[in-house]
Amino acid sequence: MAHQLYRNTTIGHCLQESLDELMQYDQLPPALAMKVLLQFDKAISAALANRVKSRLSFKAGKLNTYRFCDNVWTLLLTGVEFKEVQDVAKADRMKIVAMDGRAQV
């Protein structure tokens, strides 16, 4: 039900690799692995929505490209500065993939 956007993250990749390893050793049926991933999608969406309190703002030098297709926004920015109270990080290039929080997959 929640979109599978967060599978392409560090934590999502780790989970997928772990599940693949377990499937390889026949310790986990593939159907169960699918269920785990679906539960992960729901859990991470809920956690980010409810349990994350820190605020981080960012400012970019330039928006190079934007794209909107199938309700997915892809934004490419350059010269990005992240600020959280004190100046935290800088990035030369940044890609944002954003999906509608209320929409169905």
């Binding site: 400012k59 934007y66 909107f68 297709c69 934004l75 920015l77």
Partner: protein
């Protein structure tokens, strides 16, 4: 100071003013116009051929100096500004690339595109000139947001070139035509639109409960003008020259129903005009005309 565009609804922001001031009609000393509308039309039509060359080109140096102005320049006790600036706000053009466009492919691989399936078209925005192109799968493209006919052509060609070069479509630039031009201008006087609409009951349409302006249609030019009581007039017509002709047509009709401003209002309007002129002269880097004090 550049801002993060992801926050705002509009991905792009206008750099500087994008409006083009086409100084087309030059109205000479208002005192000489008072005798009647026929004298007015003559003045304008004599200014017409001179300004058509400058105005039709649509370049930033669209300032025209017909000989009439020299006569009125020394006599400047009138607070009324004798120049009517027609500002072209929007030029809409349409063309075809004569090949089928795979909208899904453009949406996934193109830059600065939006694809909403409910509209069935891909919207692509160009930064320079700042225009929006709407593309359909048939290969028809509509380009809006330009400030002159020449700019519209350039923008359209850039879109076609992008499709050809970046996305490898067998695109050809065909059937380019300007579909609509929107121009606005402000009269240096207010207008009594109720009386104006009553004098031309067939041609003018005034419904104050629906819209605060009079809709005046000029059939032979295919132009629609909206006349407001503040003296602002917006014109939509098939070309820039039609916009100019429409304003020239309506000026004497509207002049008849002018409502002269009180001296304070006129002085304030003149001050605002002078400020506007100073700003536009700084941008265009032109030497200003004789109306400075």
């Amino acid at each position: 100071m550049s801002q993060i565009w992801a926050q705002s609804a509009q991905p792009f922001s206008r750099s500087g003013s994008g409006t083009l001031h086409v100084r087309t009609c030059r109205v000479a000393d208002p005192a000489s116009l008072r005798p009647g509308p026929m004298a007015l039309v003559q003045t304008l039509s004599s200014a017409g051929p001179m300004s058509a060359g400058g105005g039709g080109g649509g370049g930033p140096s669209g300032l025209v100096e017909p000989p009439l102005v020299a006569a009125s320049a020394p006599a400047a006790p009138e607070p009324e500004e004798p120049v009517i600036d027609i500002v072209i706000n929007n030029v809409v053009s349409s063309f075809s690339v004569s090949c089928h466009l795979d909208l899904k492919h453009i949406a996934q691989n193109g830059h600065n595109v939006e694809y909403r399936r409910e509209n069935g078209m891909v919207t692509m925005k160009m930064r320079r000139p700042y225009t929006t192109a709407s593309m359909w799968s048939s290969g028809k493209i509509t380009c809006t947001g330009s400030t002159s006919e020449a700019e519209a052509r350039v923008a359209a060609r850039r879109v076609a070139r992008y499709l050809q070069k970046e996305l490898s479509y067998p695109a050809r630039f065909r059937n380019f035509r300007v579909v609509n031009v929107l121009g606005t201008c402000t009269m240096p006087f207010s207008i009594k639109i109720a009386d104006f609409s009553q004098k031309y009951p067939r041609i003018a349409c005034y419904e104050p409960e629906l819209h605060p302006g009079v809709t005046y249609r000029i059939n032979h030019l295919k132009a629609t003008l909206k006349v407001f009581s503040t003296g602002s007039i917006t014109v939509t017509a098939p070309s820039v020259s039609a916009v100019q002709q429409a304003i020239e047509h309506i000026f004497p009709l509207v002049y008849e129903f002018r409502k002269d401003k009180s001296p304070e209002e006129a002085a304030a309007a003149a001050a605002a005009r002078a400020r506007q002129l100073a700003e536009s002269d700084l941008e265009l880097d032109d030497s200003s005309d004789g109306s400075d004090d």
